[in-house]
């Protein structure tokens, strides 16, 4: 008899937990995957540096953990095999020539004249011809963090595509809005290295978009240095310092977006890096760069295989990374209580009715309790007598 009681109890307990788990998944989208769209919008030999920029960033995001199938790389791709290239089939972003960016594993999705404004929009909004293979599509969902990197020649509210078309700021804003409507991203980081890059973001309206550009309106973005062996400039300043920041990082580092944005020194850049955060809900100090540039997501540590802890109820979750490879056991603390809940609120109010409002007020109440763990434990202890009473009654 006691045995049956215990099974029934545990069943009920599981049911309860299951319910709460299901609830949390549906109403706030978790960050579940990372995508990167890297675009080099220029062609011709003298724009070598733009291709080098894009390839360097491609290499960085791959190194930080975004797999190739989740990177859409758009390149004119006319440098490596250009007859003017002194080093055939190699592309460098530094005059020391230590690192060949055009190594074995470069998967270019859109190449040459395929890099057009139209294709760029199709990738972003997901409106493809039927024949387009999955590898050329951005198959993101509402849990995706997307990094959109663009480099090329631009001006006030436009970016040139291969000297034949231009992308205007309202086009970009429109595409992002469509993506938002179609729930193609959770958060979007737009990074642009071009002259007057800041002007490209002026029309953005969609929440969840974070934008950073290499220069303000009226400023030029300059190249970093000239490789006098190859005879062209090989990297732009903004990208160079971005890369310098990431070179110090590995997948497990916890540097925040603030530290990235703070690393841009206007005197080194010869322009003012501009970032637009008003559409972004989280605080930048609390967002690790790997949320965009890597594939590091919030994982929830559970003690056993099936015991799932409600994220709502955890004030702070300790996340342990798999540390077989790295000798230093890095523990990372993701402070996510306040902000995440605010997002939760936003989402729920947007999408669902009043029930969720009640839930959130209840949730707010929960928040006031300081020691959550003990509260949960006490709650469980209290439930035990309740259960026994109910079982006794039904008996």
């Amino acid at each position: 008899m006691f045995g049956s009681k215990v099974t029934a109890l545990s069943f009920l307990f599981l049911l309860l937990l299951g319910f709460s788990n299901c609830e949390s998944q549906t109403e706030t989208t978790m960050h579940t995957n990372n995508w990167a769209v890297l675009v080099c919008t220029s062609r011709f030999w003298f724009n070598y540096r733009h291709m080098a920029n894009t390839l360097s960033l491609y290499r960085t995001v791959k190194r930080l953990g975004i797999p190739d199938e989740r990177i859409i790389l758009m390149l004119a791709d006319d440098m490596a095999c250009n007859a003017r290239n002194k080093y055939p089939a190699q592309v460098f972003n530094n005059e020391n020539h230590k690192l060949n960016l055009y190594g074995d594993n470069v998967e270019v999705d859109y190449r040459g004249y395929e890099v057009t404004v139209e294709n760029f929009f199709r990738v972003l909004t997901g409106r493809h011809e039927n024949a387009v293979p999955r590898s050329k599509r951005l198959l993101s969902d509402e849990g995706s963090h997307i990094l959109l990197y663009m480099t090329g020649h631009g001006g006030d509210e436009f970016l040139k595509f291969q000297d034949s078309e231009e992308l205007q700021s309202h086009d970009l804003a429109d595409a992002v809005k469509q993506m938002k409507e179609k729930r193609r991203f959770k958060e979007l980081l737009i990074m642009v290295d071009t002259c007057q890059a800041a002007t490209l973001f002026s029309q953005l309206q969609s929440p969840g978009a974070l934008a950073i550009g290499s220069s303000m309106k009226g400023e030029n973005s300059y190249s970093h240095h000239l490789d006098s062996d190859v005879g062209v400039s090989v990297v732009d300043r903004f990208t160079f310092y971005t890369l310098a920041f990431f070179e110090k990082l590995n997948m497990y580092d916890n540097a925040s977006l603030t530290s990235l944005f703070g690393s841009y020194n206007p005197s080194m850049l010869m322009s003012t890096a501009y970032y637009r955060t008003d559409l972004y809900q989280r605080r930048l100090e609390e967002v690790p760069v790997t949320n965009f540039f890597g594939s590091v997501m919030e994982t929830i540590h559970t003690d056993s295989a099936y015991r799932v802890l409600s994220r709502k109820e955890s004030g702070s979750v300790e996340i342990k990374m798999s540390t077989e490879k790295s000798d230093h056991d890095k523990e990372r603390l993701l402070l996510n209580s306040n902000d995440l809940d605010q997002i939760g609120e936003l989402n729920t109010e947007d999408q669902r009715g009043n029930i969720e409002c009640i839930w959130s007020t209840f949730h707010k109440e929960l928040q006031k309790v300081k020691d959550v763990d003990s509260f949960v434990n006490y709650g469980l202890v209290i439930m035990l007598p309740l259960l026994t009473v109910s079982m006794w009654l039904s008996w």
Partner: protein, 688 residues
């Protein structure tokens, strides 16, 4: 004229503002003409101030961004060639062929494709039917003996990964009969670059090295090669003929391989003519750039800019652009420069944004360069072998490098070769980066210094436009009411006859040339006499309508009509000429516009006996004197070069050179300037 027509209808309807403006301008046409003319001349004087700094507008060029790869190894190879060539010259064992074979040997050792191209000299004789077209080479070949041909040696490097559609041309003219040290050095420079380019991996365009045999002139050799390059001859006759009288009979099979057929590469992106001056500079190595092609066409400015940038900032050469040296010592120019400088300071004090003052010395120098640039463009004669390329729309310049000391010193010579070679390498690498043609740059410009220019492409020279704009105004004024009565038709006929006479005058030199043993002076005198004679004949034949005119209308109107039609003709002529050769039109306008506007019958002026009229008489006489082409030429020559030793024969020689090069300036002088001058003189001497 349209304006005057609307003037007639004016009283009936309410006038539109444009018509009223037109009437206002017409009623003040004298004042307007004077203002416009002075404004034009002033603008011309202000051009050095208005000149802009040049910049390289084509992004793809990126001059100097790559380190030069030319090393002492290539230079020592080139030194070998120079030594071999000079020793050949000392021995004088075999003229011509030996040196070409040596060069071909050197080329093929580098792995280049070598071919020879044979050509025959063309006489620079004036032929009226061939003025606009180059004479057919086949017809000339017939009566030339085998011994007198030139032999160009052409080496081609194929770009290893290029598509073979484009090429860059290097030209080194040299006289195969007597190789000077300068020519040997220029071959050395080209060879060092050539040998480097056979090894580099970054070539996107083929390289063609033409060693032009300048036995019959540099231009002729390059022109002959270009003609064969662009106009292929498909009959085997020419080749057979060439084989028959070949000097190198003992050739090996390998050399035969070199020679079979004419080798081509892609379309030419740019051409560089390399020369080394035999004279030596006093202070430092310097580089002269010659760019003017026929009819004042200039190569794309970017090409000059690259050369200038690389020479100054990379190789430390001093750039020299042709100047009118005598202008440098001009007192009034200096004073003008100082006035402008102080004006500039004043303007700067008023508003720091206004920066147009330049130092007086710069101004004088700018003017000297500008004058020379204007003159050489107006002449319409190419200043070097690069002119041949321009006829095929290929941008080309001649680079003449002169070294500081005569290069007997071995170390000096190495250094000289290295610098020259690196300059050429840099330019080639820059052009190699080019993706298409040179584009989005200036092509109509006057240089005021190596680093600044005055482009009339974007500013279309206000002076000239203003000068022009006043013609119809004054013409319309004098036409006035008579327009409707078709009386102006007689004047127009007269003008037409005089212009026809101009064409006849143009053709006369062809016949005068046929007279054997003629000194320039006598030919000139004969020409003048024949011209006057033909004028008289024309008047005798076609002159009858004029008597009718005299009878039918009051004479004081006749000269006014004639003047207005003359002005219209001059306007049309200058407009046409400004399209063909802007510099000619500019200089021509400077001489002709005041003359045409001032023309007034002497008789009337003398009758009225006022100071104003006398001054007009003086002006008319002076302008009439200076407006006559021979006197204008001699006066300017005297001013710039001193009056001693000047004879009228110089003008003949000058004209001969102009027609030999088929310059449009020749046509301009005969068909527009001279008739207008005659008509002006006619107006001045009019018996009214």
């Amino acid at each position: 004229m349209g304006e005057s027509e609307s003037e007639n209808e004016a009283p009936k309807v309410k006038l539109r503002p444009i018509v009223r403006l037109g009437m206002f301008l017409i009623s003040h046409s004298h004042l307007l003409s004077v203002v416009c003319c002075t404004a034009g001349v002033l603008t011309l004087l202000l051009l050095p101030l208005l000149a802009k700094n040049t910049y390289i507008s084509e992004n793809a060029l990126m001059p100097g961004s790559a380190n030069p790869m030319l090393s002492s190894q290539e230079v020592s190879e080139a030194n070998g060639l120079v030594k071999d060539l000079t020793s050949l010259d000392l021995k004088r064992m075999a003229s011509g062929i030996e040196s070409q074979r040596l060069i071909a040997q050197y080329m093929s050792n580098l792995g280049a494709e070598v071919s020879f191209q044979k050509f025959y000299p063309q006489s620079n004789q004036f032929h009226p039917l061939h003025f606009f077209s180059s004479p057919d080479s086949a017809t000339i070949r017939e009566n030339i003996s085998c011994s007198s041909y030139g032999l160009n040696t052409v080496g081609i490097i194929r770009a290893p990964r290029g598509d073979g559609k484009e090429a860059i041309v290097l030209v080194t003219p040299y006289n195969s009969e007597k190789i000077g040290l300068g020519e040997a050095l220029s071959l050395g420079i080209a060879y060092s670059v050539f040998s480097l380019l056979t090894r580099v991996t970054w070539l996107a365009k083929d390289i063609i090295w033409v060693v032009a045999d300048s036995k019959y002139g540099e231009y002729a050799a390059v022109d002959a090669w270009l003609r064969d390059y662009y106009i292929p001859v498909f009959s085997g006759l020419g080749i057979q003929n060439a084989e028959m009288c070949h000097g190198l009979e003992e050739n090996t099979i390998r050399e035969r391989n070199m020679r079979d057929g004419f080798k081509r590469a892609g379309t030419m992106a740019a051409a560089l003519v390399i020369k080394v001056a035999d004279r030596s500079e006093q202070f430092e190595d310097s580089l002269s750039i010659y760019a003017e092609a026929s009819n004042g066409q200039m190569p794309n400015l970017d090409l000059i800019n690259i050369v200038n940038y690389l020479a100054v900032h990379r190789q430390g050469l001093r750039i020299k652009v042709e100047k009118m040296w005598s202008l440098l010592n001009c007192k009034w120019l200096k004073i003008l420069g100082e006035i402008l400088e102080s004006l500039g300071h004043l303007a700067k004090n008023l508003n720091p944004q206004w920066k147009f003052g330049i130092p007086a010395a710069d101004y004088v120098e700018g003017t000297a360069t500008l004058t020379s640039s204007l003159y050489y463009q107006a002449l319409g004669i190419p200043t070097g072998p690069h002119g041949a390329f321009r006829d095929y729309q290929v941008d080309a310049v001649t680079l003449e490098i002169s070294s500081r000391v005569s290069s007997n010193n071995k170390g000096r010579q190495n250094d000289f070769l290295l610098r020259g070679g690196r300059l050429i390498e840099g330019v080639i690498r820059s052009v190699n980066n080019l993706l298409e043609k040179f584009h989005q740059s200036f092509f109509l410009y006057l240089l005021t210094s190596p680093t600044s220019l005055y482009a009339h492409a974007n500013n279309l020279d206000p002076s000239f436009e203003k000068n022009e704009s006043n013609h119809p105004a004054s013409a319309a004024d004098e036409l006035g009411i008579t327009l409707r009565s078709w009386k102006w038709l007689y004047a127009a006929k007269k003008v037409l006859v005089v212009h026809l006479w101009g064409a006849v005058v143009l053709l006369l030199p062809y016949f005068i040339c046929q007279i054997p043993n003629c000194t320039p002076t006598t030919s000139f005198v004969v020409w003048v006499l024949l011209s006057i004679f033909s004028l008289l004949i024309l008047f005798w034949i076609l002159g009858s309508p004029f008597s009718y005119v005299y009878a039918s209308q009051p004479q004081q109107r006749e000269w006014a009509l004639l003047k207005s039609v003359t002005i219209s003709a001059a306007f049309i002529g200058l407009c046409l000429m400004s399209v063909i050769n802007f510099a000619t039109a500019e200089i021509g306008a400077l001489l002709m516009v005041p003359m045409c506007l001032m023309a007034h019958p002497l008789k009337l002026d003398v009758k009225s006996r006022k100071l104003r009229n006398f001054s007009r008489v003086a002006c008319n006489l002076a302008l009439g004197f200076i407006g006559f082409p021979p006197t204008a030429f001699l006066v300017f020559k005297g001013v710039f070069e001193g009056f001693d030793g000047i004879s009228v024969g110089d003008f003949w020689n000058w004209l001969e050179s102009i027609w030999a090069w088929s310059s449009a300036t020749y046509l301009y002088i005969g068909m527009i300037h001279l008739p207008c001058w005659i008509l002006c003189i006619h107006v001045i001497l009019h018996p009214c």
